[in-house]
């Protein structure tokens, strides 16, 4: 089967800094991949490039066989807005800081894009939104504004909002990093349920290792713009091969254990 996502020798620079260096990466349809690594290692950049929030300088990127460059484009990332618009219809993203529209109700947040972009009728969009909000457990808040919701509730709405566009690939950029510890569980619960969808390809950047282990088909460790090691979660976490991987895992897992002890929450 052709991979749904393929990075081929992609180079991404921010000014003088090279963040992704000859980056190669493939994701299969329906696969759930977790990207872990220290900050600045490039994992969020991978998501942002997929979501067309960042261009890349060299290399090739395809989603479901369609290149991010225009068919006859060459050289640096060059694509018309129209082409990117087509590509984006396959991808959705959940942000670390939720980015809900503060002036819209919860329902309107979820309904906005389907109506404006997919040209859905308002009633149809609302019934779909109702379904999604029930799924994330927030239907009773549908007429509230984001400022009236907790962080965990806002993030769950953000997930419903992204799902409303029926993306084939859903990206999660540190979805729980901005949440108070006691709110993390409710969001992870929703993501866990989603991971049961066979057709949905998910890329997850997170520091929640136990969750990654539970939910992923594959875990990738990033360092300095390259994938140092990847593999199935069981083997990856119990027997990391590379020294850098071992170093990173021990430091972050140790931290998370002591954090959980101090707030006494079970996950």
């Amino acid at each position: 089967m052709n991979p749904i996502i393929r990075f081929q020798n992609v180079i991404k620079r921010f000014g003088a800094l090279t963040v992704l260096d000859n980056f190669n990466f493939e994701v299969q349809r329906g696969e759930k991949v977790t990207l872990i690594g220290p900050s600045g290692s490039g994992k969020s950049t991978v998501l942002r490039i997929l979501m067309t929030l960042e261009p890349f300088q060299e290399g090739l990127l395809e989603i479901d066989g369609i290149s991010y460059h225009e068919p006859d484009g060459r050289g640096p990332f060059k694509a018309s807005e129209k082409h990117l618009h087509t590509i984006r219809s396959n991808v959705g993203m959940v942000f670390q800081s939720f980015n809900l529209f503060p002036h819209m109700t919860v329902l309107r947040n979820v309904v906005e894009a389907p109506v404006a972009v997919l040209k859905m009728k308002r009633e149809e969009a609302e019934s779909r939104a109702t379904e999604l909000l029930r799924m994330v457990g927030l239907y009773d808040k549908k007429d509230h504004f984001p400022s009236q919701l907790s962080g965990g509730q806002q993030q769950r709405v953000a997930i419903a909002r992204a799902l409303a566009m029926r993306p084939r690939v859903l990206l999660f950029d540190e979805p729980t990093s901005a949440l108070d510890p006691q709110l993390v569980g409710e969001v992870l619960g929703v993501i866990r349920d989603l991971a049961r969808e066979h057709d949905l390809t998910m890329l997850l950047v997170t520091h929640e290792m136990r969750f990654a282990r539970e939910v992923s088909d594959r875990v990738c460790f990033f360092d300095k713009g390259r994938i140092v090691e990847q593999g199935e979660p069981e083997r990856f976490f119990s027997n990391p091969q590379q020294p850098r991987t071992r170093e990173f895992l021990s430091s972050i897992l140790g931290e998370q254990e002591s954090q959980r002890e101090s707030i006494g929450c079970a996950q």
């Binding site: 979501m51 067309t52 929030l53 807005e81 618009h85 984006r88 219809s89 991808v91 959705g92 993203m93 942000f95 800081s97 980015n99 809900l100 529209f101 503060p102 002036h103 819209m104 109700t105 329902l107 309107r108 906005e112 894009a113 404006a116 972009v117 007429d143 504004f145 400022s147 909002r161 992204a162 566009m165």
Partner: protein
């Protein structure tokens, strides 16, 4: 006698009261000129602000220079320019329209700065969320950016309305019959300037105060996070 009203110069008080209806006509002209000018300033300012964000350097740079130039030069000279130069190009407007146009032009340079600040104040995350949802730029502006921008720009835009009201007397220089123009005409005929000019000032004072109060009320009525959409 003016507009059918005769004045009585026997005492300052009777004089003041007798010219009140005349100045009332001028007040109407003042308000109309400010209204037209303000609408022009709001619309043109938005156009300038959006053009300034263009990715084509030539456009954004030209608009920036033009805006700065209009901001730093006197309204009076711009008014003279429009009043005397436009007819040379075949554009003949009534004096009132030329005046309103001059007001609108000068203030559009101010309002464009307000719009720019307002747009920049909407966080990047909002833009990224809209992109992630595959909304077009137009849809993003319409449904995400502008509703959030409005509460932030109301105070500054309101202040400029009050300022514009106070600059309308300049239009009397090109024969627009606003309050000051009428007061001067009364003064010329009666050789009595003290009462008419003081009256004009005394009418402006509560007018600007009321206007400021109304703007403050609008400010308070708008939710800080933006115009609510359900």
């Amino acid at each position: 006698m003016m507009y059918g009203y005769a004045w009585d110069t026997s005492t300052p008080l009777t004089f003041a009261l007798s010219i009140l209806p005349i100045l009332g006509h001028g007040l109407l002209v003042t308000l109309q000129a400010a209204a037209v000018g303000y609408v022009i300033a709001l619309v043109l300012g938005l156009v300038l602000a959006l053009l300034r964000r263009s990715r084509i350097k030539a456009i954004s740079w030209t608009v920036a220079c033009f805006t700065e130039f209009v901001r730093d030069t006197p309204l009076l000279v711009q008014l003279f320019f429009l009043y005397y130069v436009l007819p040379d190009f075949g554009i003949i407007l009534p004096a009132f329209m030329t005046g309103a146009l001059a007001l609108g032009l000068q203030y559009s340079a101010y309002t464009s700065e307000v719009y720019r600040g307002g747009i920049n104040a909407v966080s990047r995350g909002q833009w990224e969320a809209a992109t992630a949802l595959n909304m077009t730029r137009l849809q993003t502006y319409r449904d995400v950016v502008i509703p959030q921008m409005i509460p932030r720009i109301v105070p500054a835009l309101g202040n400029y309305l009050v300022s514009m009201l106070k600059e309308t007397p300049v239009l009397s220089v090109v024969t627009v019959l606003d309050m000051l123009g009428l007061a001067n005409m009364i003064g010329e005929r009666t050789f009595e300037y003290l009462v008419p000019l003081s009256m004009v000032g005394l009418i402006f004072l509560p007018m600007t105060l009321i206007c400021s109060a109304l703007i403050y009320a609008v400010e308070r009525a708008l939710p800080k996070s933006g115009i609510p959409l359900r």
